[in-house]
């Protein structure tokens, strides 16, 4: 093996340092969540007491977050996938405009979107106090991610020709949408779905404005616990959040792995 130069070791040290800088707080958080008394340190003993406490106090927020995340996913799939299909098939300036407009909820601060929703629908009591109100906000915020992910895959395959092929073989719109279009954008749908669920579970900004005492999501509960509970409980809460979010993040990475290039788009004759 070739001897490594001084540059290699310098770069390695720098990388390790940066990684440590980022990982240490995470490790601290986790440690705090399972330490009997954080101020005495780990020697005070490890415990699951705080996790149990969090479960007792906040398990509703966890279930609500999961419910909202899954509902957001269902709505995004039902709206986002067909929307992406239409945007991919429809030429001209209008679809491009729609595509850009769809991204606005990401650019606008969540607080502003939430305020607008409250101004418009806040007086509609049943709606305002139900978790569906938060769902609307989450769909607004996550929909562009679903549309973009599916659209990216749709534009990388020669969709019009594939559909023409299917049509020439006698396939109706339904048959080719479910038999040809959807299976070929599966990777995009999967990547979009994991993104949407992750974003929804972690969303705080907008949800903080939209929630009511009875519709607290996990991140809102986290803020609440940080503000009013002892540090160990807040940290234990973080640990539970990690358990929910890390598998999803890994899933995103796996789904977003580079695929084999699609068939080359041929020049028009």
């Amino acid at each position: 093996m070739a001897r490594r130069g001084r540059g290699f070791w310098a770069q390695l040290a720098f990388t390790v340092l940066v990684a440590a800088f980022l990982i240490v707080p995470v490790a601290m958080s986790i440690t705090a969540g399972i330490t009997a008394n954080f101020f005495q340190g780990v020697k005070s003993g490890l415990t699951t007491r705080w996790i149990a406490e969090v479960w007792r106090l906040y398990r509703d927020t966890i279930f609500l977050s999961m419910t909202i995340a899954l509902a957001t996913l269902v709505v995004d799939l039902a709206i986002g996938v067909p929307a992406a299909y239409v945007l991919a098939r429809w030429r001209g300036w209008l679809p491009r405009l729609v595509e850009e407009a769809l991204v606005l909820p990401i650019a606008i601060p969540g607080l502003a979107t939430a305020l607008a929703l409250i101004l418009a629908y806040g007086t509609w009591r049943e709606f305002r106090t139900s978790w569906v109100f938060i769902l609307v906000g989450h769909v607004l915020f996550t929909l562009p991610f679903m549309v973009r992910a599916v659209l990216a895959v749709l534009s990388s395959i020669d969709l019009p020709t594939l559909e023409e092929g299917a049509r020439s073989l006698g396939a109706s719109f339904r048959q080719r949408f479910f038999g040809v279009v959807l299976p070929n954008v599966r990777a995009g749908i999967l990547a979009g779905a994991l993104m949407v669920v992750t974003l929804s579970i972690g969303e705080f900004n907008m949800t903080w404005m939209l929630h009511t005492p009875l519709t607290k999501t996990l991140p809102v509960g986290l803020a609440d616990s940080y503000a009013s509970m002892r540090l160990e409980i807040g940290s234990a809460y973080t640990v539970m959040f990690f358990f929910m979010i890390i598998p999803l993040l890994i899933g995103i990475q796996l789904a977003a792995r580079p695929r084999k290039p699609a068939t080359l788009r041929d020049e028009a004759a």
Binding site: E164, G165, A166, S168, A171, S172, V180, N184, L264, D266
Partner: protein
Amino acid sequence: MSVAIKLVSCAKTFADGTRAVGPLDLEIPPGETIVFLGPSGCGKTTTLRLIAGLESPNPGGRVLFDEADVTEISIERRNVGMVFQSYALFPNMTVGGNVEYGLRVRKLPAAARAARVEEMLGMMKIGELRHRRVDQLSGGQKQRVALARALAPQPRVLLLDEPLTALDAKLRDALRVEIDALLRRLRMTAVYVTHDQAEAMALGDRIVVMSQGQVAQVGRPRDIYFAPQSRFVAEFVGTMNRLHGVVRNGHLEVMGGRVPWRGRGGGEVEVLFRPERAAIVEAGAGQVKGRVATSFFLGDRTRLLVEGVSSGTLVVETTDRRDWEPGQDVHLVIDPDALLTLDR
């Protein structure tokens, strides 16, 4: 099984106002292989798409299969087989799945589907690829799968849109021979679009040469080659030489000499002839004299670009084994019957 196709004053104007195909009338008898040949943008693909049902003609235009008007029938129900330049195989299915697709959407029973898929894979000699994914295939294999897929539901016509263009030269030749044999055997009405005149000559029972949305000429490959009716057809199909000169005393006098003139008319003319109608002869025996500008050794023959006979460069081919050098004198005899006078 095979149908006649008839286009009656079919025109196509796109939404942006461009006229892709002019009103055109065409009859294709059952079982014929007809080739639409023309440069890019001449409307050949649009015409194919009109027949397929992927485009509908402007009001007034009609497409008939046998005597039935199919103008209003969508492609899904027209029962046509299509083969695309980009193959358009479904990446989410195996080779077998692709071939089976048209049978599955028709809801054929599983046993009938399996038998037909087997037959098609056998016919295209791709049985061993059955379980492969389509991205694991070479271009030639993909196009075989595409043919098998298009033919599986027993379409009434087979439509091929530049099916060989994406393949390399050697594979193109091999697959062309196979497609030719296949079409002869199936006796299916087939429409084949290409910009490659050699492909058109080899495959077509008849060729439709198209230019700017109009039919420039329809005829057997020989007619198109030997008796082009316009300068466009003459120059698009094969190579043409131009001679510019003056007819005087029964001869066409050009820069490099004179050729016997059997045509009518007189005065200043421009005539065309094919390279193979000129022969290289010994000095003194030639009608015209020129100079070699460049020579290309092609193995079986040598192609010479000759200057000084007329205002432009002439292409002449020879099978002799001489080593032609630029600047060398070359003496030619041109068959007077080969001279074509064509209007623009």
